[in-house]
């Protein structure tokens, strides 16, 4: 075996192809034929009690209608995570976009002859729009924006918290095209005295009427500047939305967590008092500080003040290489990934190859807009064999920079701690 070039597998495959199916049986020989039917155990679907180490959460790859196989965390309601490889692009294919529904019973079918987006509540005139009207009567606009689950990376929490045990794949970036929320509100005419705008889709749950398990509703303050950039999107990446991602329209709230991006948006209501429904008053709350962090002790002592989650803190991710790649010393390589922030454009990404002791600037890729993924790359030639711990941190226009301090809150939200990954470098000869 001194010959450095041993193209054995290729040769064998080529042979098998030539031999055809009969040849396959012959070539596989006795060992293969003698193999017994063995039921292999399922792969683990949970991690813990320590933090999840891998990039993605754990689960089988399963496809739902209009989707490619995604990592199944929970089957009903659907929680499906996007595999790491899809983040090699700053835009995520609609078919690979993660899925998260809070309630299990959402429409399997939309009849656009009867479906209407209804605006009402504290308005001059209650109005409703068919999809055809949304397409015809309003100026279409587009925004590139990241949609990220509030609980993305929840499995990194320590101590662990219950909920969807996401790795990093509960996010994606798309070009969303639709109608300005402001344009719709203008048609209805918001009356003076409005406080919040409530959004609701068509999903329902089996919980008792009036409970959080029955309906899903989210509200934004009427004086929140985010309303100026909200759109009611009927397309993502130039195609209709998959039904599990919100067909026919979903709310797009650039910079904010996904909890507000109502799927199958059908009701918009102007409220004259603060929304007190479960999903605003009890769920999706973060400690009342920018990072949304506190301690288990403070929660126990009930000394923590909470507020509804809103914008996404700055984050960055290593996408390639993954842990399965061993790198020969001296090989010039490129470490690549994405960064995001809902609080101002990503202005800087830094990479460390010594686990955060020293940092160097990464090269920022194309700017697709303030709310989109910002690709980055870092040229690195490891000189010595060994195990390196690579880390990445991003800074946004607000001046916020990622740190090593672990985020903790009771619901497992707003994780943005620095990501790390081991890269093994071997001798080149």
């Amino acid at each position: 075996m001194n010959d450095p070039v041993v193209p054995l597998p290729l040769t064998r495959r080529a042979t098998l192809t030539l031999l055809g199916s009969t040849g396959v049986a012959l070539a596989l020989g006795r060992n293969a034929l003698a193999q017994r039917a063995v039921q292999t155990p399922d792969a683990p679907i949970f991690s813990g009690p320590t933090a999840l180490e891998g990039w993605n959460g754990l689960g089988p790859l399963i496809a739902l209608p209009q989707k490619v196989p995604l990592i199944r965390l929970v089957d009903r309601p659907p929680l499906y995570e996007t595999p790491r490889a899809y983040f090699q692009s700053p835009f995520t294919p609609a078919s690979a976009f993660f899925i998260r529904s809070n309630l299990a019973l959402f429409p399997a079918s939309i009849d656009l002859t009867t479906w209407r987006l209804k605006l009402g509540g504290h308005v001059e005139t209650a109005v409703d729009f068919s999809l055809a009207q949304l397409l015809r009567e309003f100026e279409p606009v587009s925004v590139n924006a990241v949609l990220q689950c509030t609980g993305n990376s929840r499995a990194r929490f320590q101590p662990r918290r219950p909920g969807g045990q996401w790795g990093n794949g509960a996010m994606g970036c798309a070009t969303w095209t639709g109608v300005r929320l402001r344009d719709l509100l203008k048609k209805a005419g918001v009356k003076a005295g409005g406080v919040q705008i409530q959004f609701q889709g068509l999903d329902k749950g089996a919980g008792a009427p009036g409970s959080g398990g029955a309906e899903y509703k989210k509200s934004l303050n009427l004086d929140d500047p985010v309303l100026d950039r909200c759109i009611v999107a009927y397309a993502m990446n130039g195609q209709p939305l998959p039904l599990v991602n919100g067909f026919p329209v979903r709310l797009v709230v650039p910079g904010y967590f996904a909890t507000y991006w109502m799927k199958t948006l059908s009701f918009i209501r102007v409220l004259t008092e603060k929304d007190s429904n479960f999903w605003m008053a009890t769920a999706y709350l973060q400690p009342d500080n920018l990072k949304g962090t506190t301690t288990p002790q403070a929660v126990k002592e009930k000394s923590v003040k909470f507020r509804p989650v809103s914008s996404m803190p700055v984050r960055s991710f290593i996408v390639t290489p993954d842990e399965t790649l061993k790198v020969p010393a001296g090989l010039p390589m490129s470490i690549q990934g994405l960064a995001l922030s809902g609080r101002g454009a990503v202005t800087k990404v830094e990479v460390s190859t010594d686990s955060g002791k020293t940092w160097k600037d990464a090269k920022l890729g194309e700017d697709h807009g303030e709310y989109a993924f910002r690709p980055w790359s870092f040229a690195w030639t490891p000189r010595q064999a060994g195990t390196y711990t690579v880390a990445v941190r991003a800074t946004d226009a607000s001046g916020a920079v990622q740190t090593d301090t672990a985020i903790w809150n009771p619901s497992g939200y707003l994780w943005n701690t620095i990501e790390r990954q081991k890269i093994v470098v071997g001798q080149a000869g």
């Binding site: 496809a63 090699q88 009849d111 605006l119 005139t125 950039r229």
Partner: protein, 361 residues
């Protein structure tokens, strides 16, 4: 070409996305300057204020025949002018069906046969619920937790302290509207979770490496006849002798359908005065064995929930006894059902769709 490796992976959608000019990106403050991305002429007539509240005529020129699965406009309920608004979403929505399937046949879903009218549908969603660890009260966990979510929500959690499981179960009961879980049942569920899903008790891989047949979720179990041999209770008895139908009811059914069989309006159908309960004995046995999910109506009231399958938890004799019980209580007058009938239904595979269409009205 910063991402050369990607072109093989990418979908045309992304290429389309990348092709959309950056000039169309909304930037706060300059959003008004954003040009239209499509050539559609603006329709000058705004929605008529005078007809507000009345659903406009269908804009589509598609087939006039309205599909039965229409999402109904919820007229007055949807938009009120007096806040706060807590109007419900329409009840007539046909919701997704979750269908048990094993892996390897589900990574390539087939497209439904589309029509060119205004109805946009998807097929069923795959449900592939892994086994829970066997143990005391696991049947209660399956029956109660499965009403709102797959038990995968339990088995995918990290090992959690018993106190946290306690909080989670009571959150379901008090916040998520799982009002059908009695305090006693809640405590039994917590006892089960504490016995099997804490850092001390949850050995890595315990649940997921269990043989798939043993302790299958009720819905999965119902699909295969092999479950008969692995079901926890004793082999189905040939008669109902010695089984107290009322006791089976109290232990397994009353949490949802109520001690008086009245159900919970809008959430859990009543059994009292329910024609499907007192009608064909084979049908109601089928529902108990295999479960029921989807849109149904009982005496005009719509329901759209999930009833778990009981094949794995109840023997033929228990099912027969509880059926005989509910068919003769609360004014119901249905004939007794034998364990043999139940046994025959067990052997007759039916689909979820069948159980909806065969349902007496």
């Amino acid at each position: 070409m910063k991402y050369p490796v990607l072109w093989g992976l990418l979908f045309p959608a992304v290429v389309v996305a990348l092709a959309i000019p950056l000039s169309n990106v909304i930037i706060p403050g300059v959003a008004a300057a954003t040009p239209a991305t499509t050539a559609t002429l603006p329709v000058t007539a705004p929605p008529q204020a005078t007809t507000a509240g009345v659903p406009p005529q269908p804009a589509s020129t598609a087939s006039p025949s309205k599909p039965a699965v229409a999402v109904q406009a919820a007229p007055a309920a949807a938009v009120r002018t007096t806040p706060p608004i807590v109007a419900a979403a329409p009840d007539q929505v046909q919701t997704v069906q979750y269908v048990d399937q094993s892996r390897r046949v589900i990574d390539q879903v087939t497209a439904p046969a589309y029509t060119t009218d205004a109805s946009y549908s998807i097929g069923s969603l795959t449900q592939d619920t892994p086994a829970l660890v066997e143990g005391a009260h696991v049947d209660l966990v399956r029956a109660n937790c499965s009403v709102c979510h797959a038990t995968t929500f339990i088995s995918s959690q990290p090992p959690l302290p018993g106190s946290l499981w306690h909080d989670e179960v009571y959150k379901m009961k008090l916040k998520y509207g799982a009002t059908f879980i009695s305090n006693e049942t809640a405590d039994q569920i917590i006892a089960y979770l504490s016995a099997h899903y804490t850092p001390e008790t949850h050995a890595s891989g315990t649940a997921s490496t269990a043989p798939s047949a043993a302790g299958s979720s009720p819905t999965t179990a119902a699909k295969t006849n092999t479950v008969k041999t692995t079901a926890a209770p004793a082999t189905p008895a040939a008669s109902t002798a010695g089984v107290d139908g009322a006791a089976v009811y109290t232990a397994n059914c009353a949490s949802c359908h109520g001690v008086a069989g009245a159900g919970v309006p809008g959430a859990f159908p009543p059994l009292a005065g329910n024609p499907a309960v007192t009608g064909d004995g084979k049908y109601v046995a089928d529902v108990l064995i295999n479960g029921l999910q989807g849109q149904i109506a009982v005496n005009g009231q719509p329901y759209n929930g999930v009833m778990p399958a009981w094949a794995a938890q109840l023997s033929d004799a228990q099912i027969a006894a509880v059926l005989t019980h509910i068919r003769s209580q609360w004014g119901n007058q249905g004939a007794a059902i034998s364990a043999d009938t139940v046994n025959a239904e067990r052997a007759r595979p039916t689909t979820a769709a069948q159980r909806l269409t065969e349902r007496p009205h």
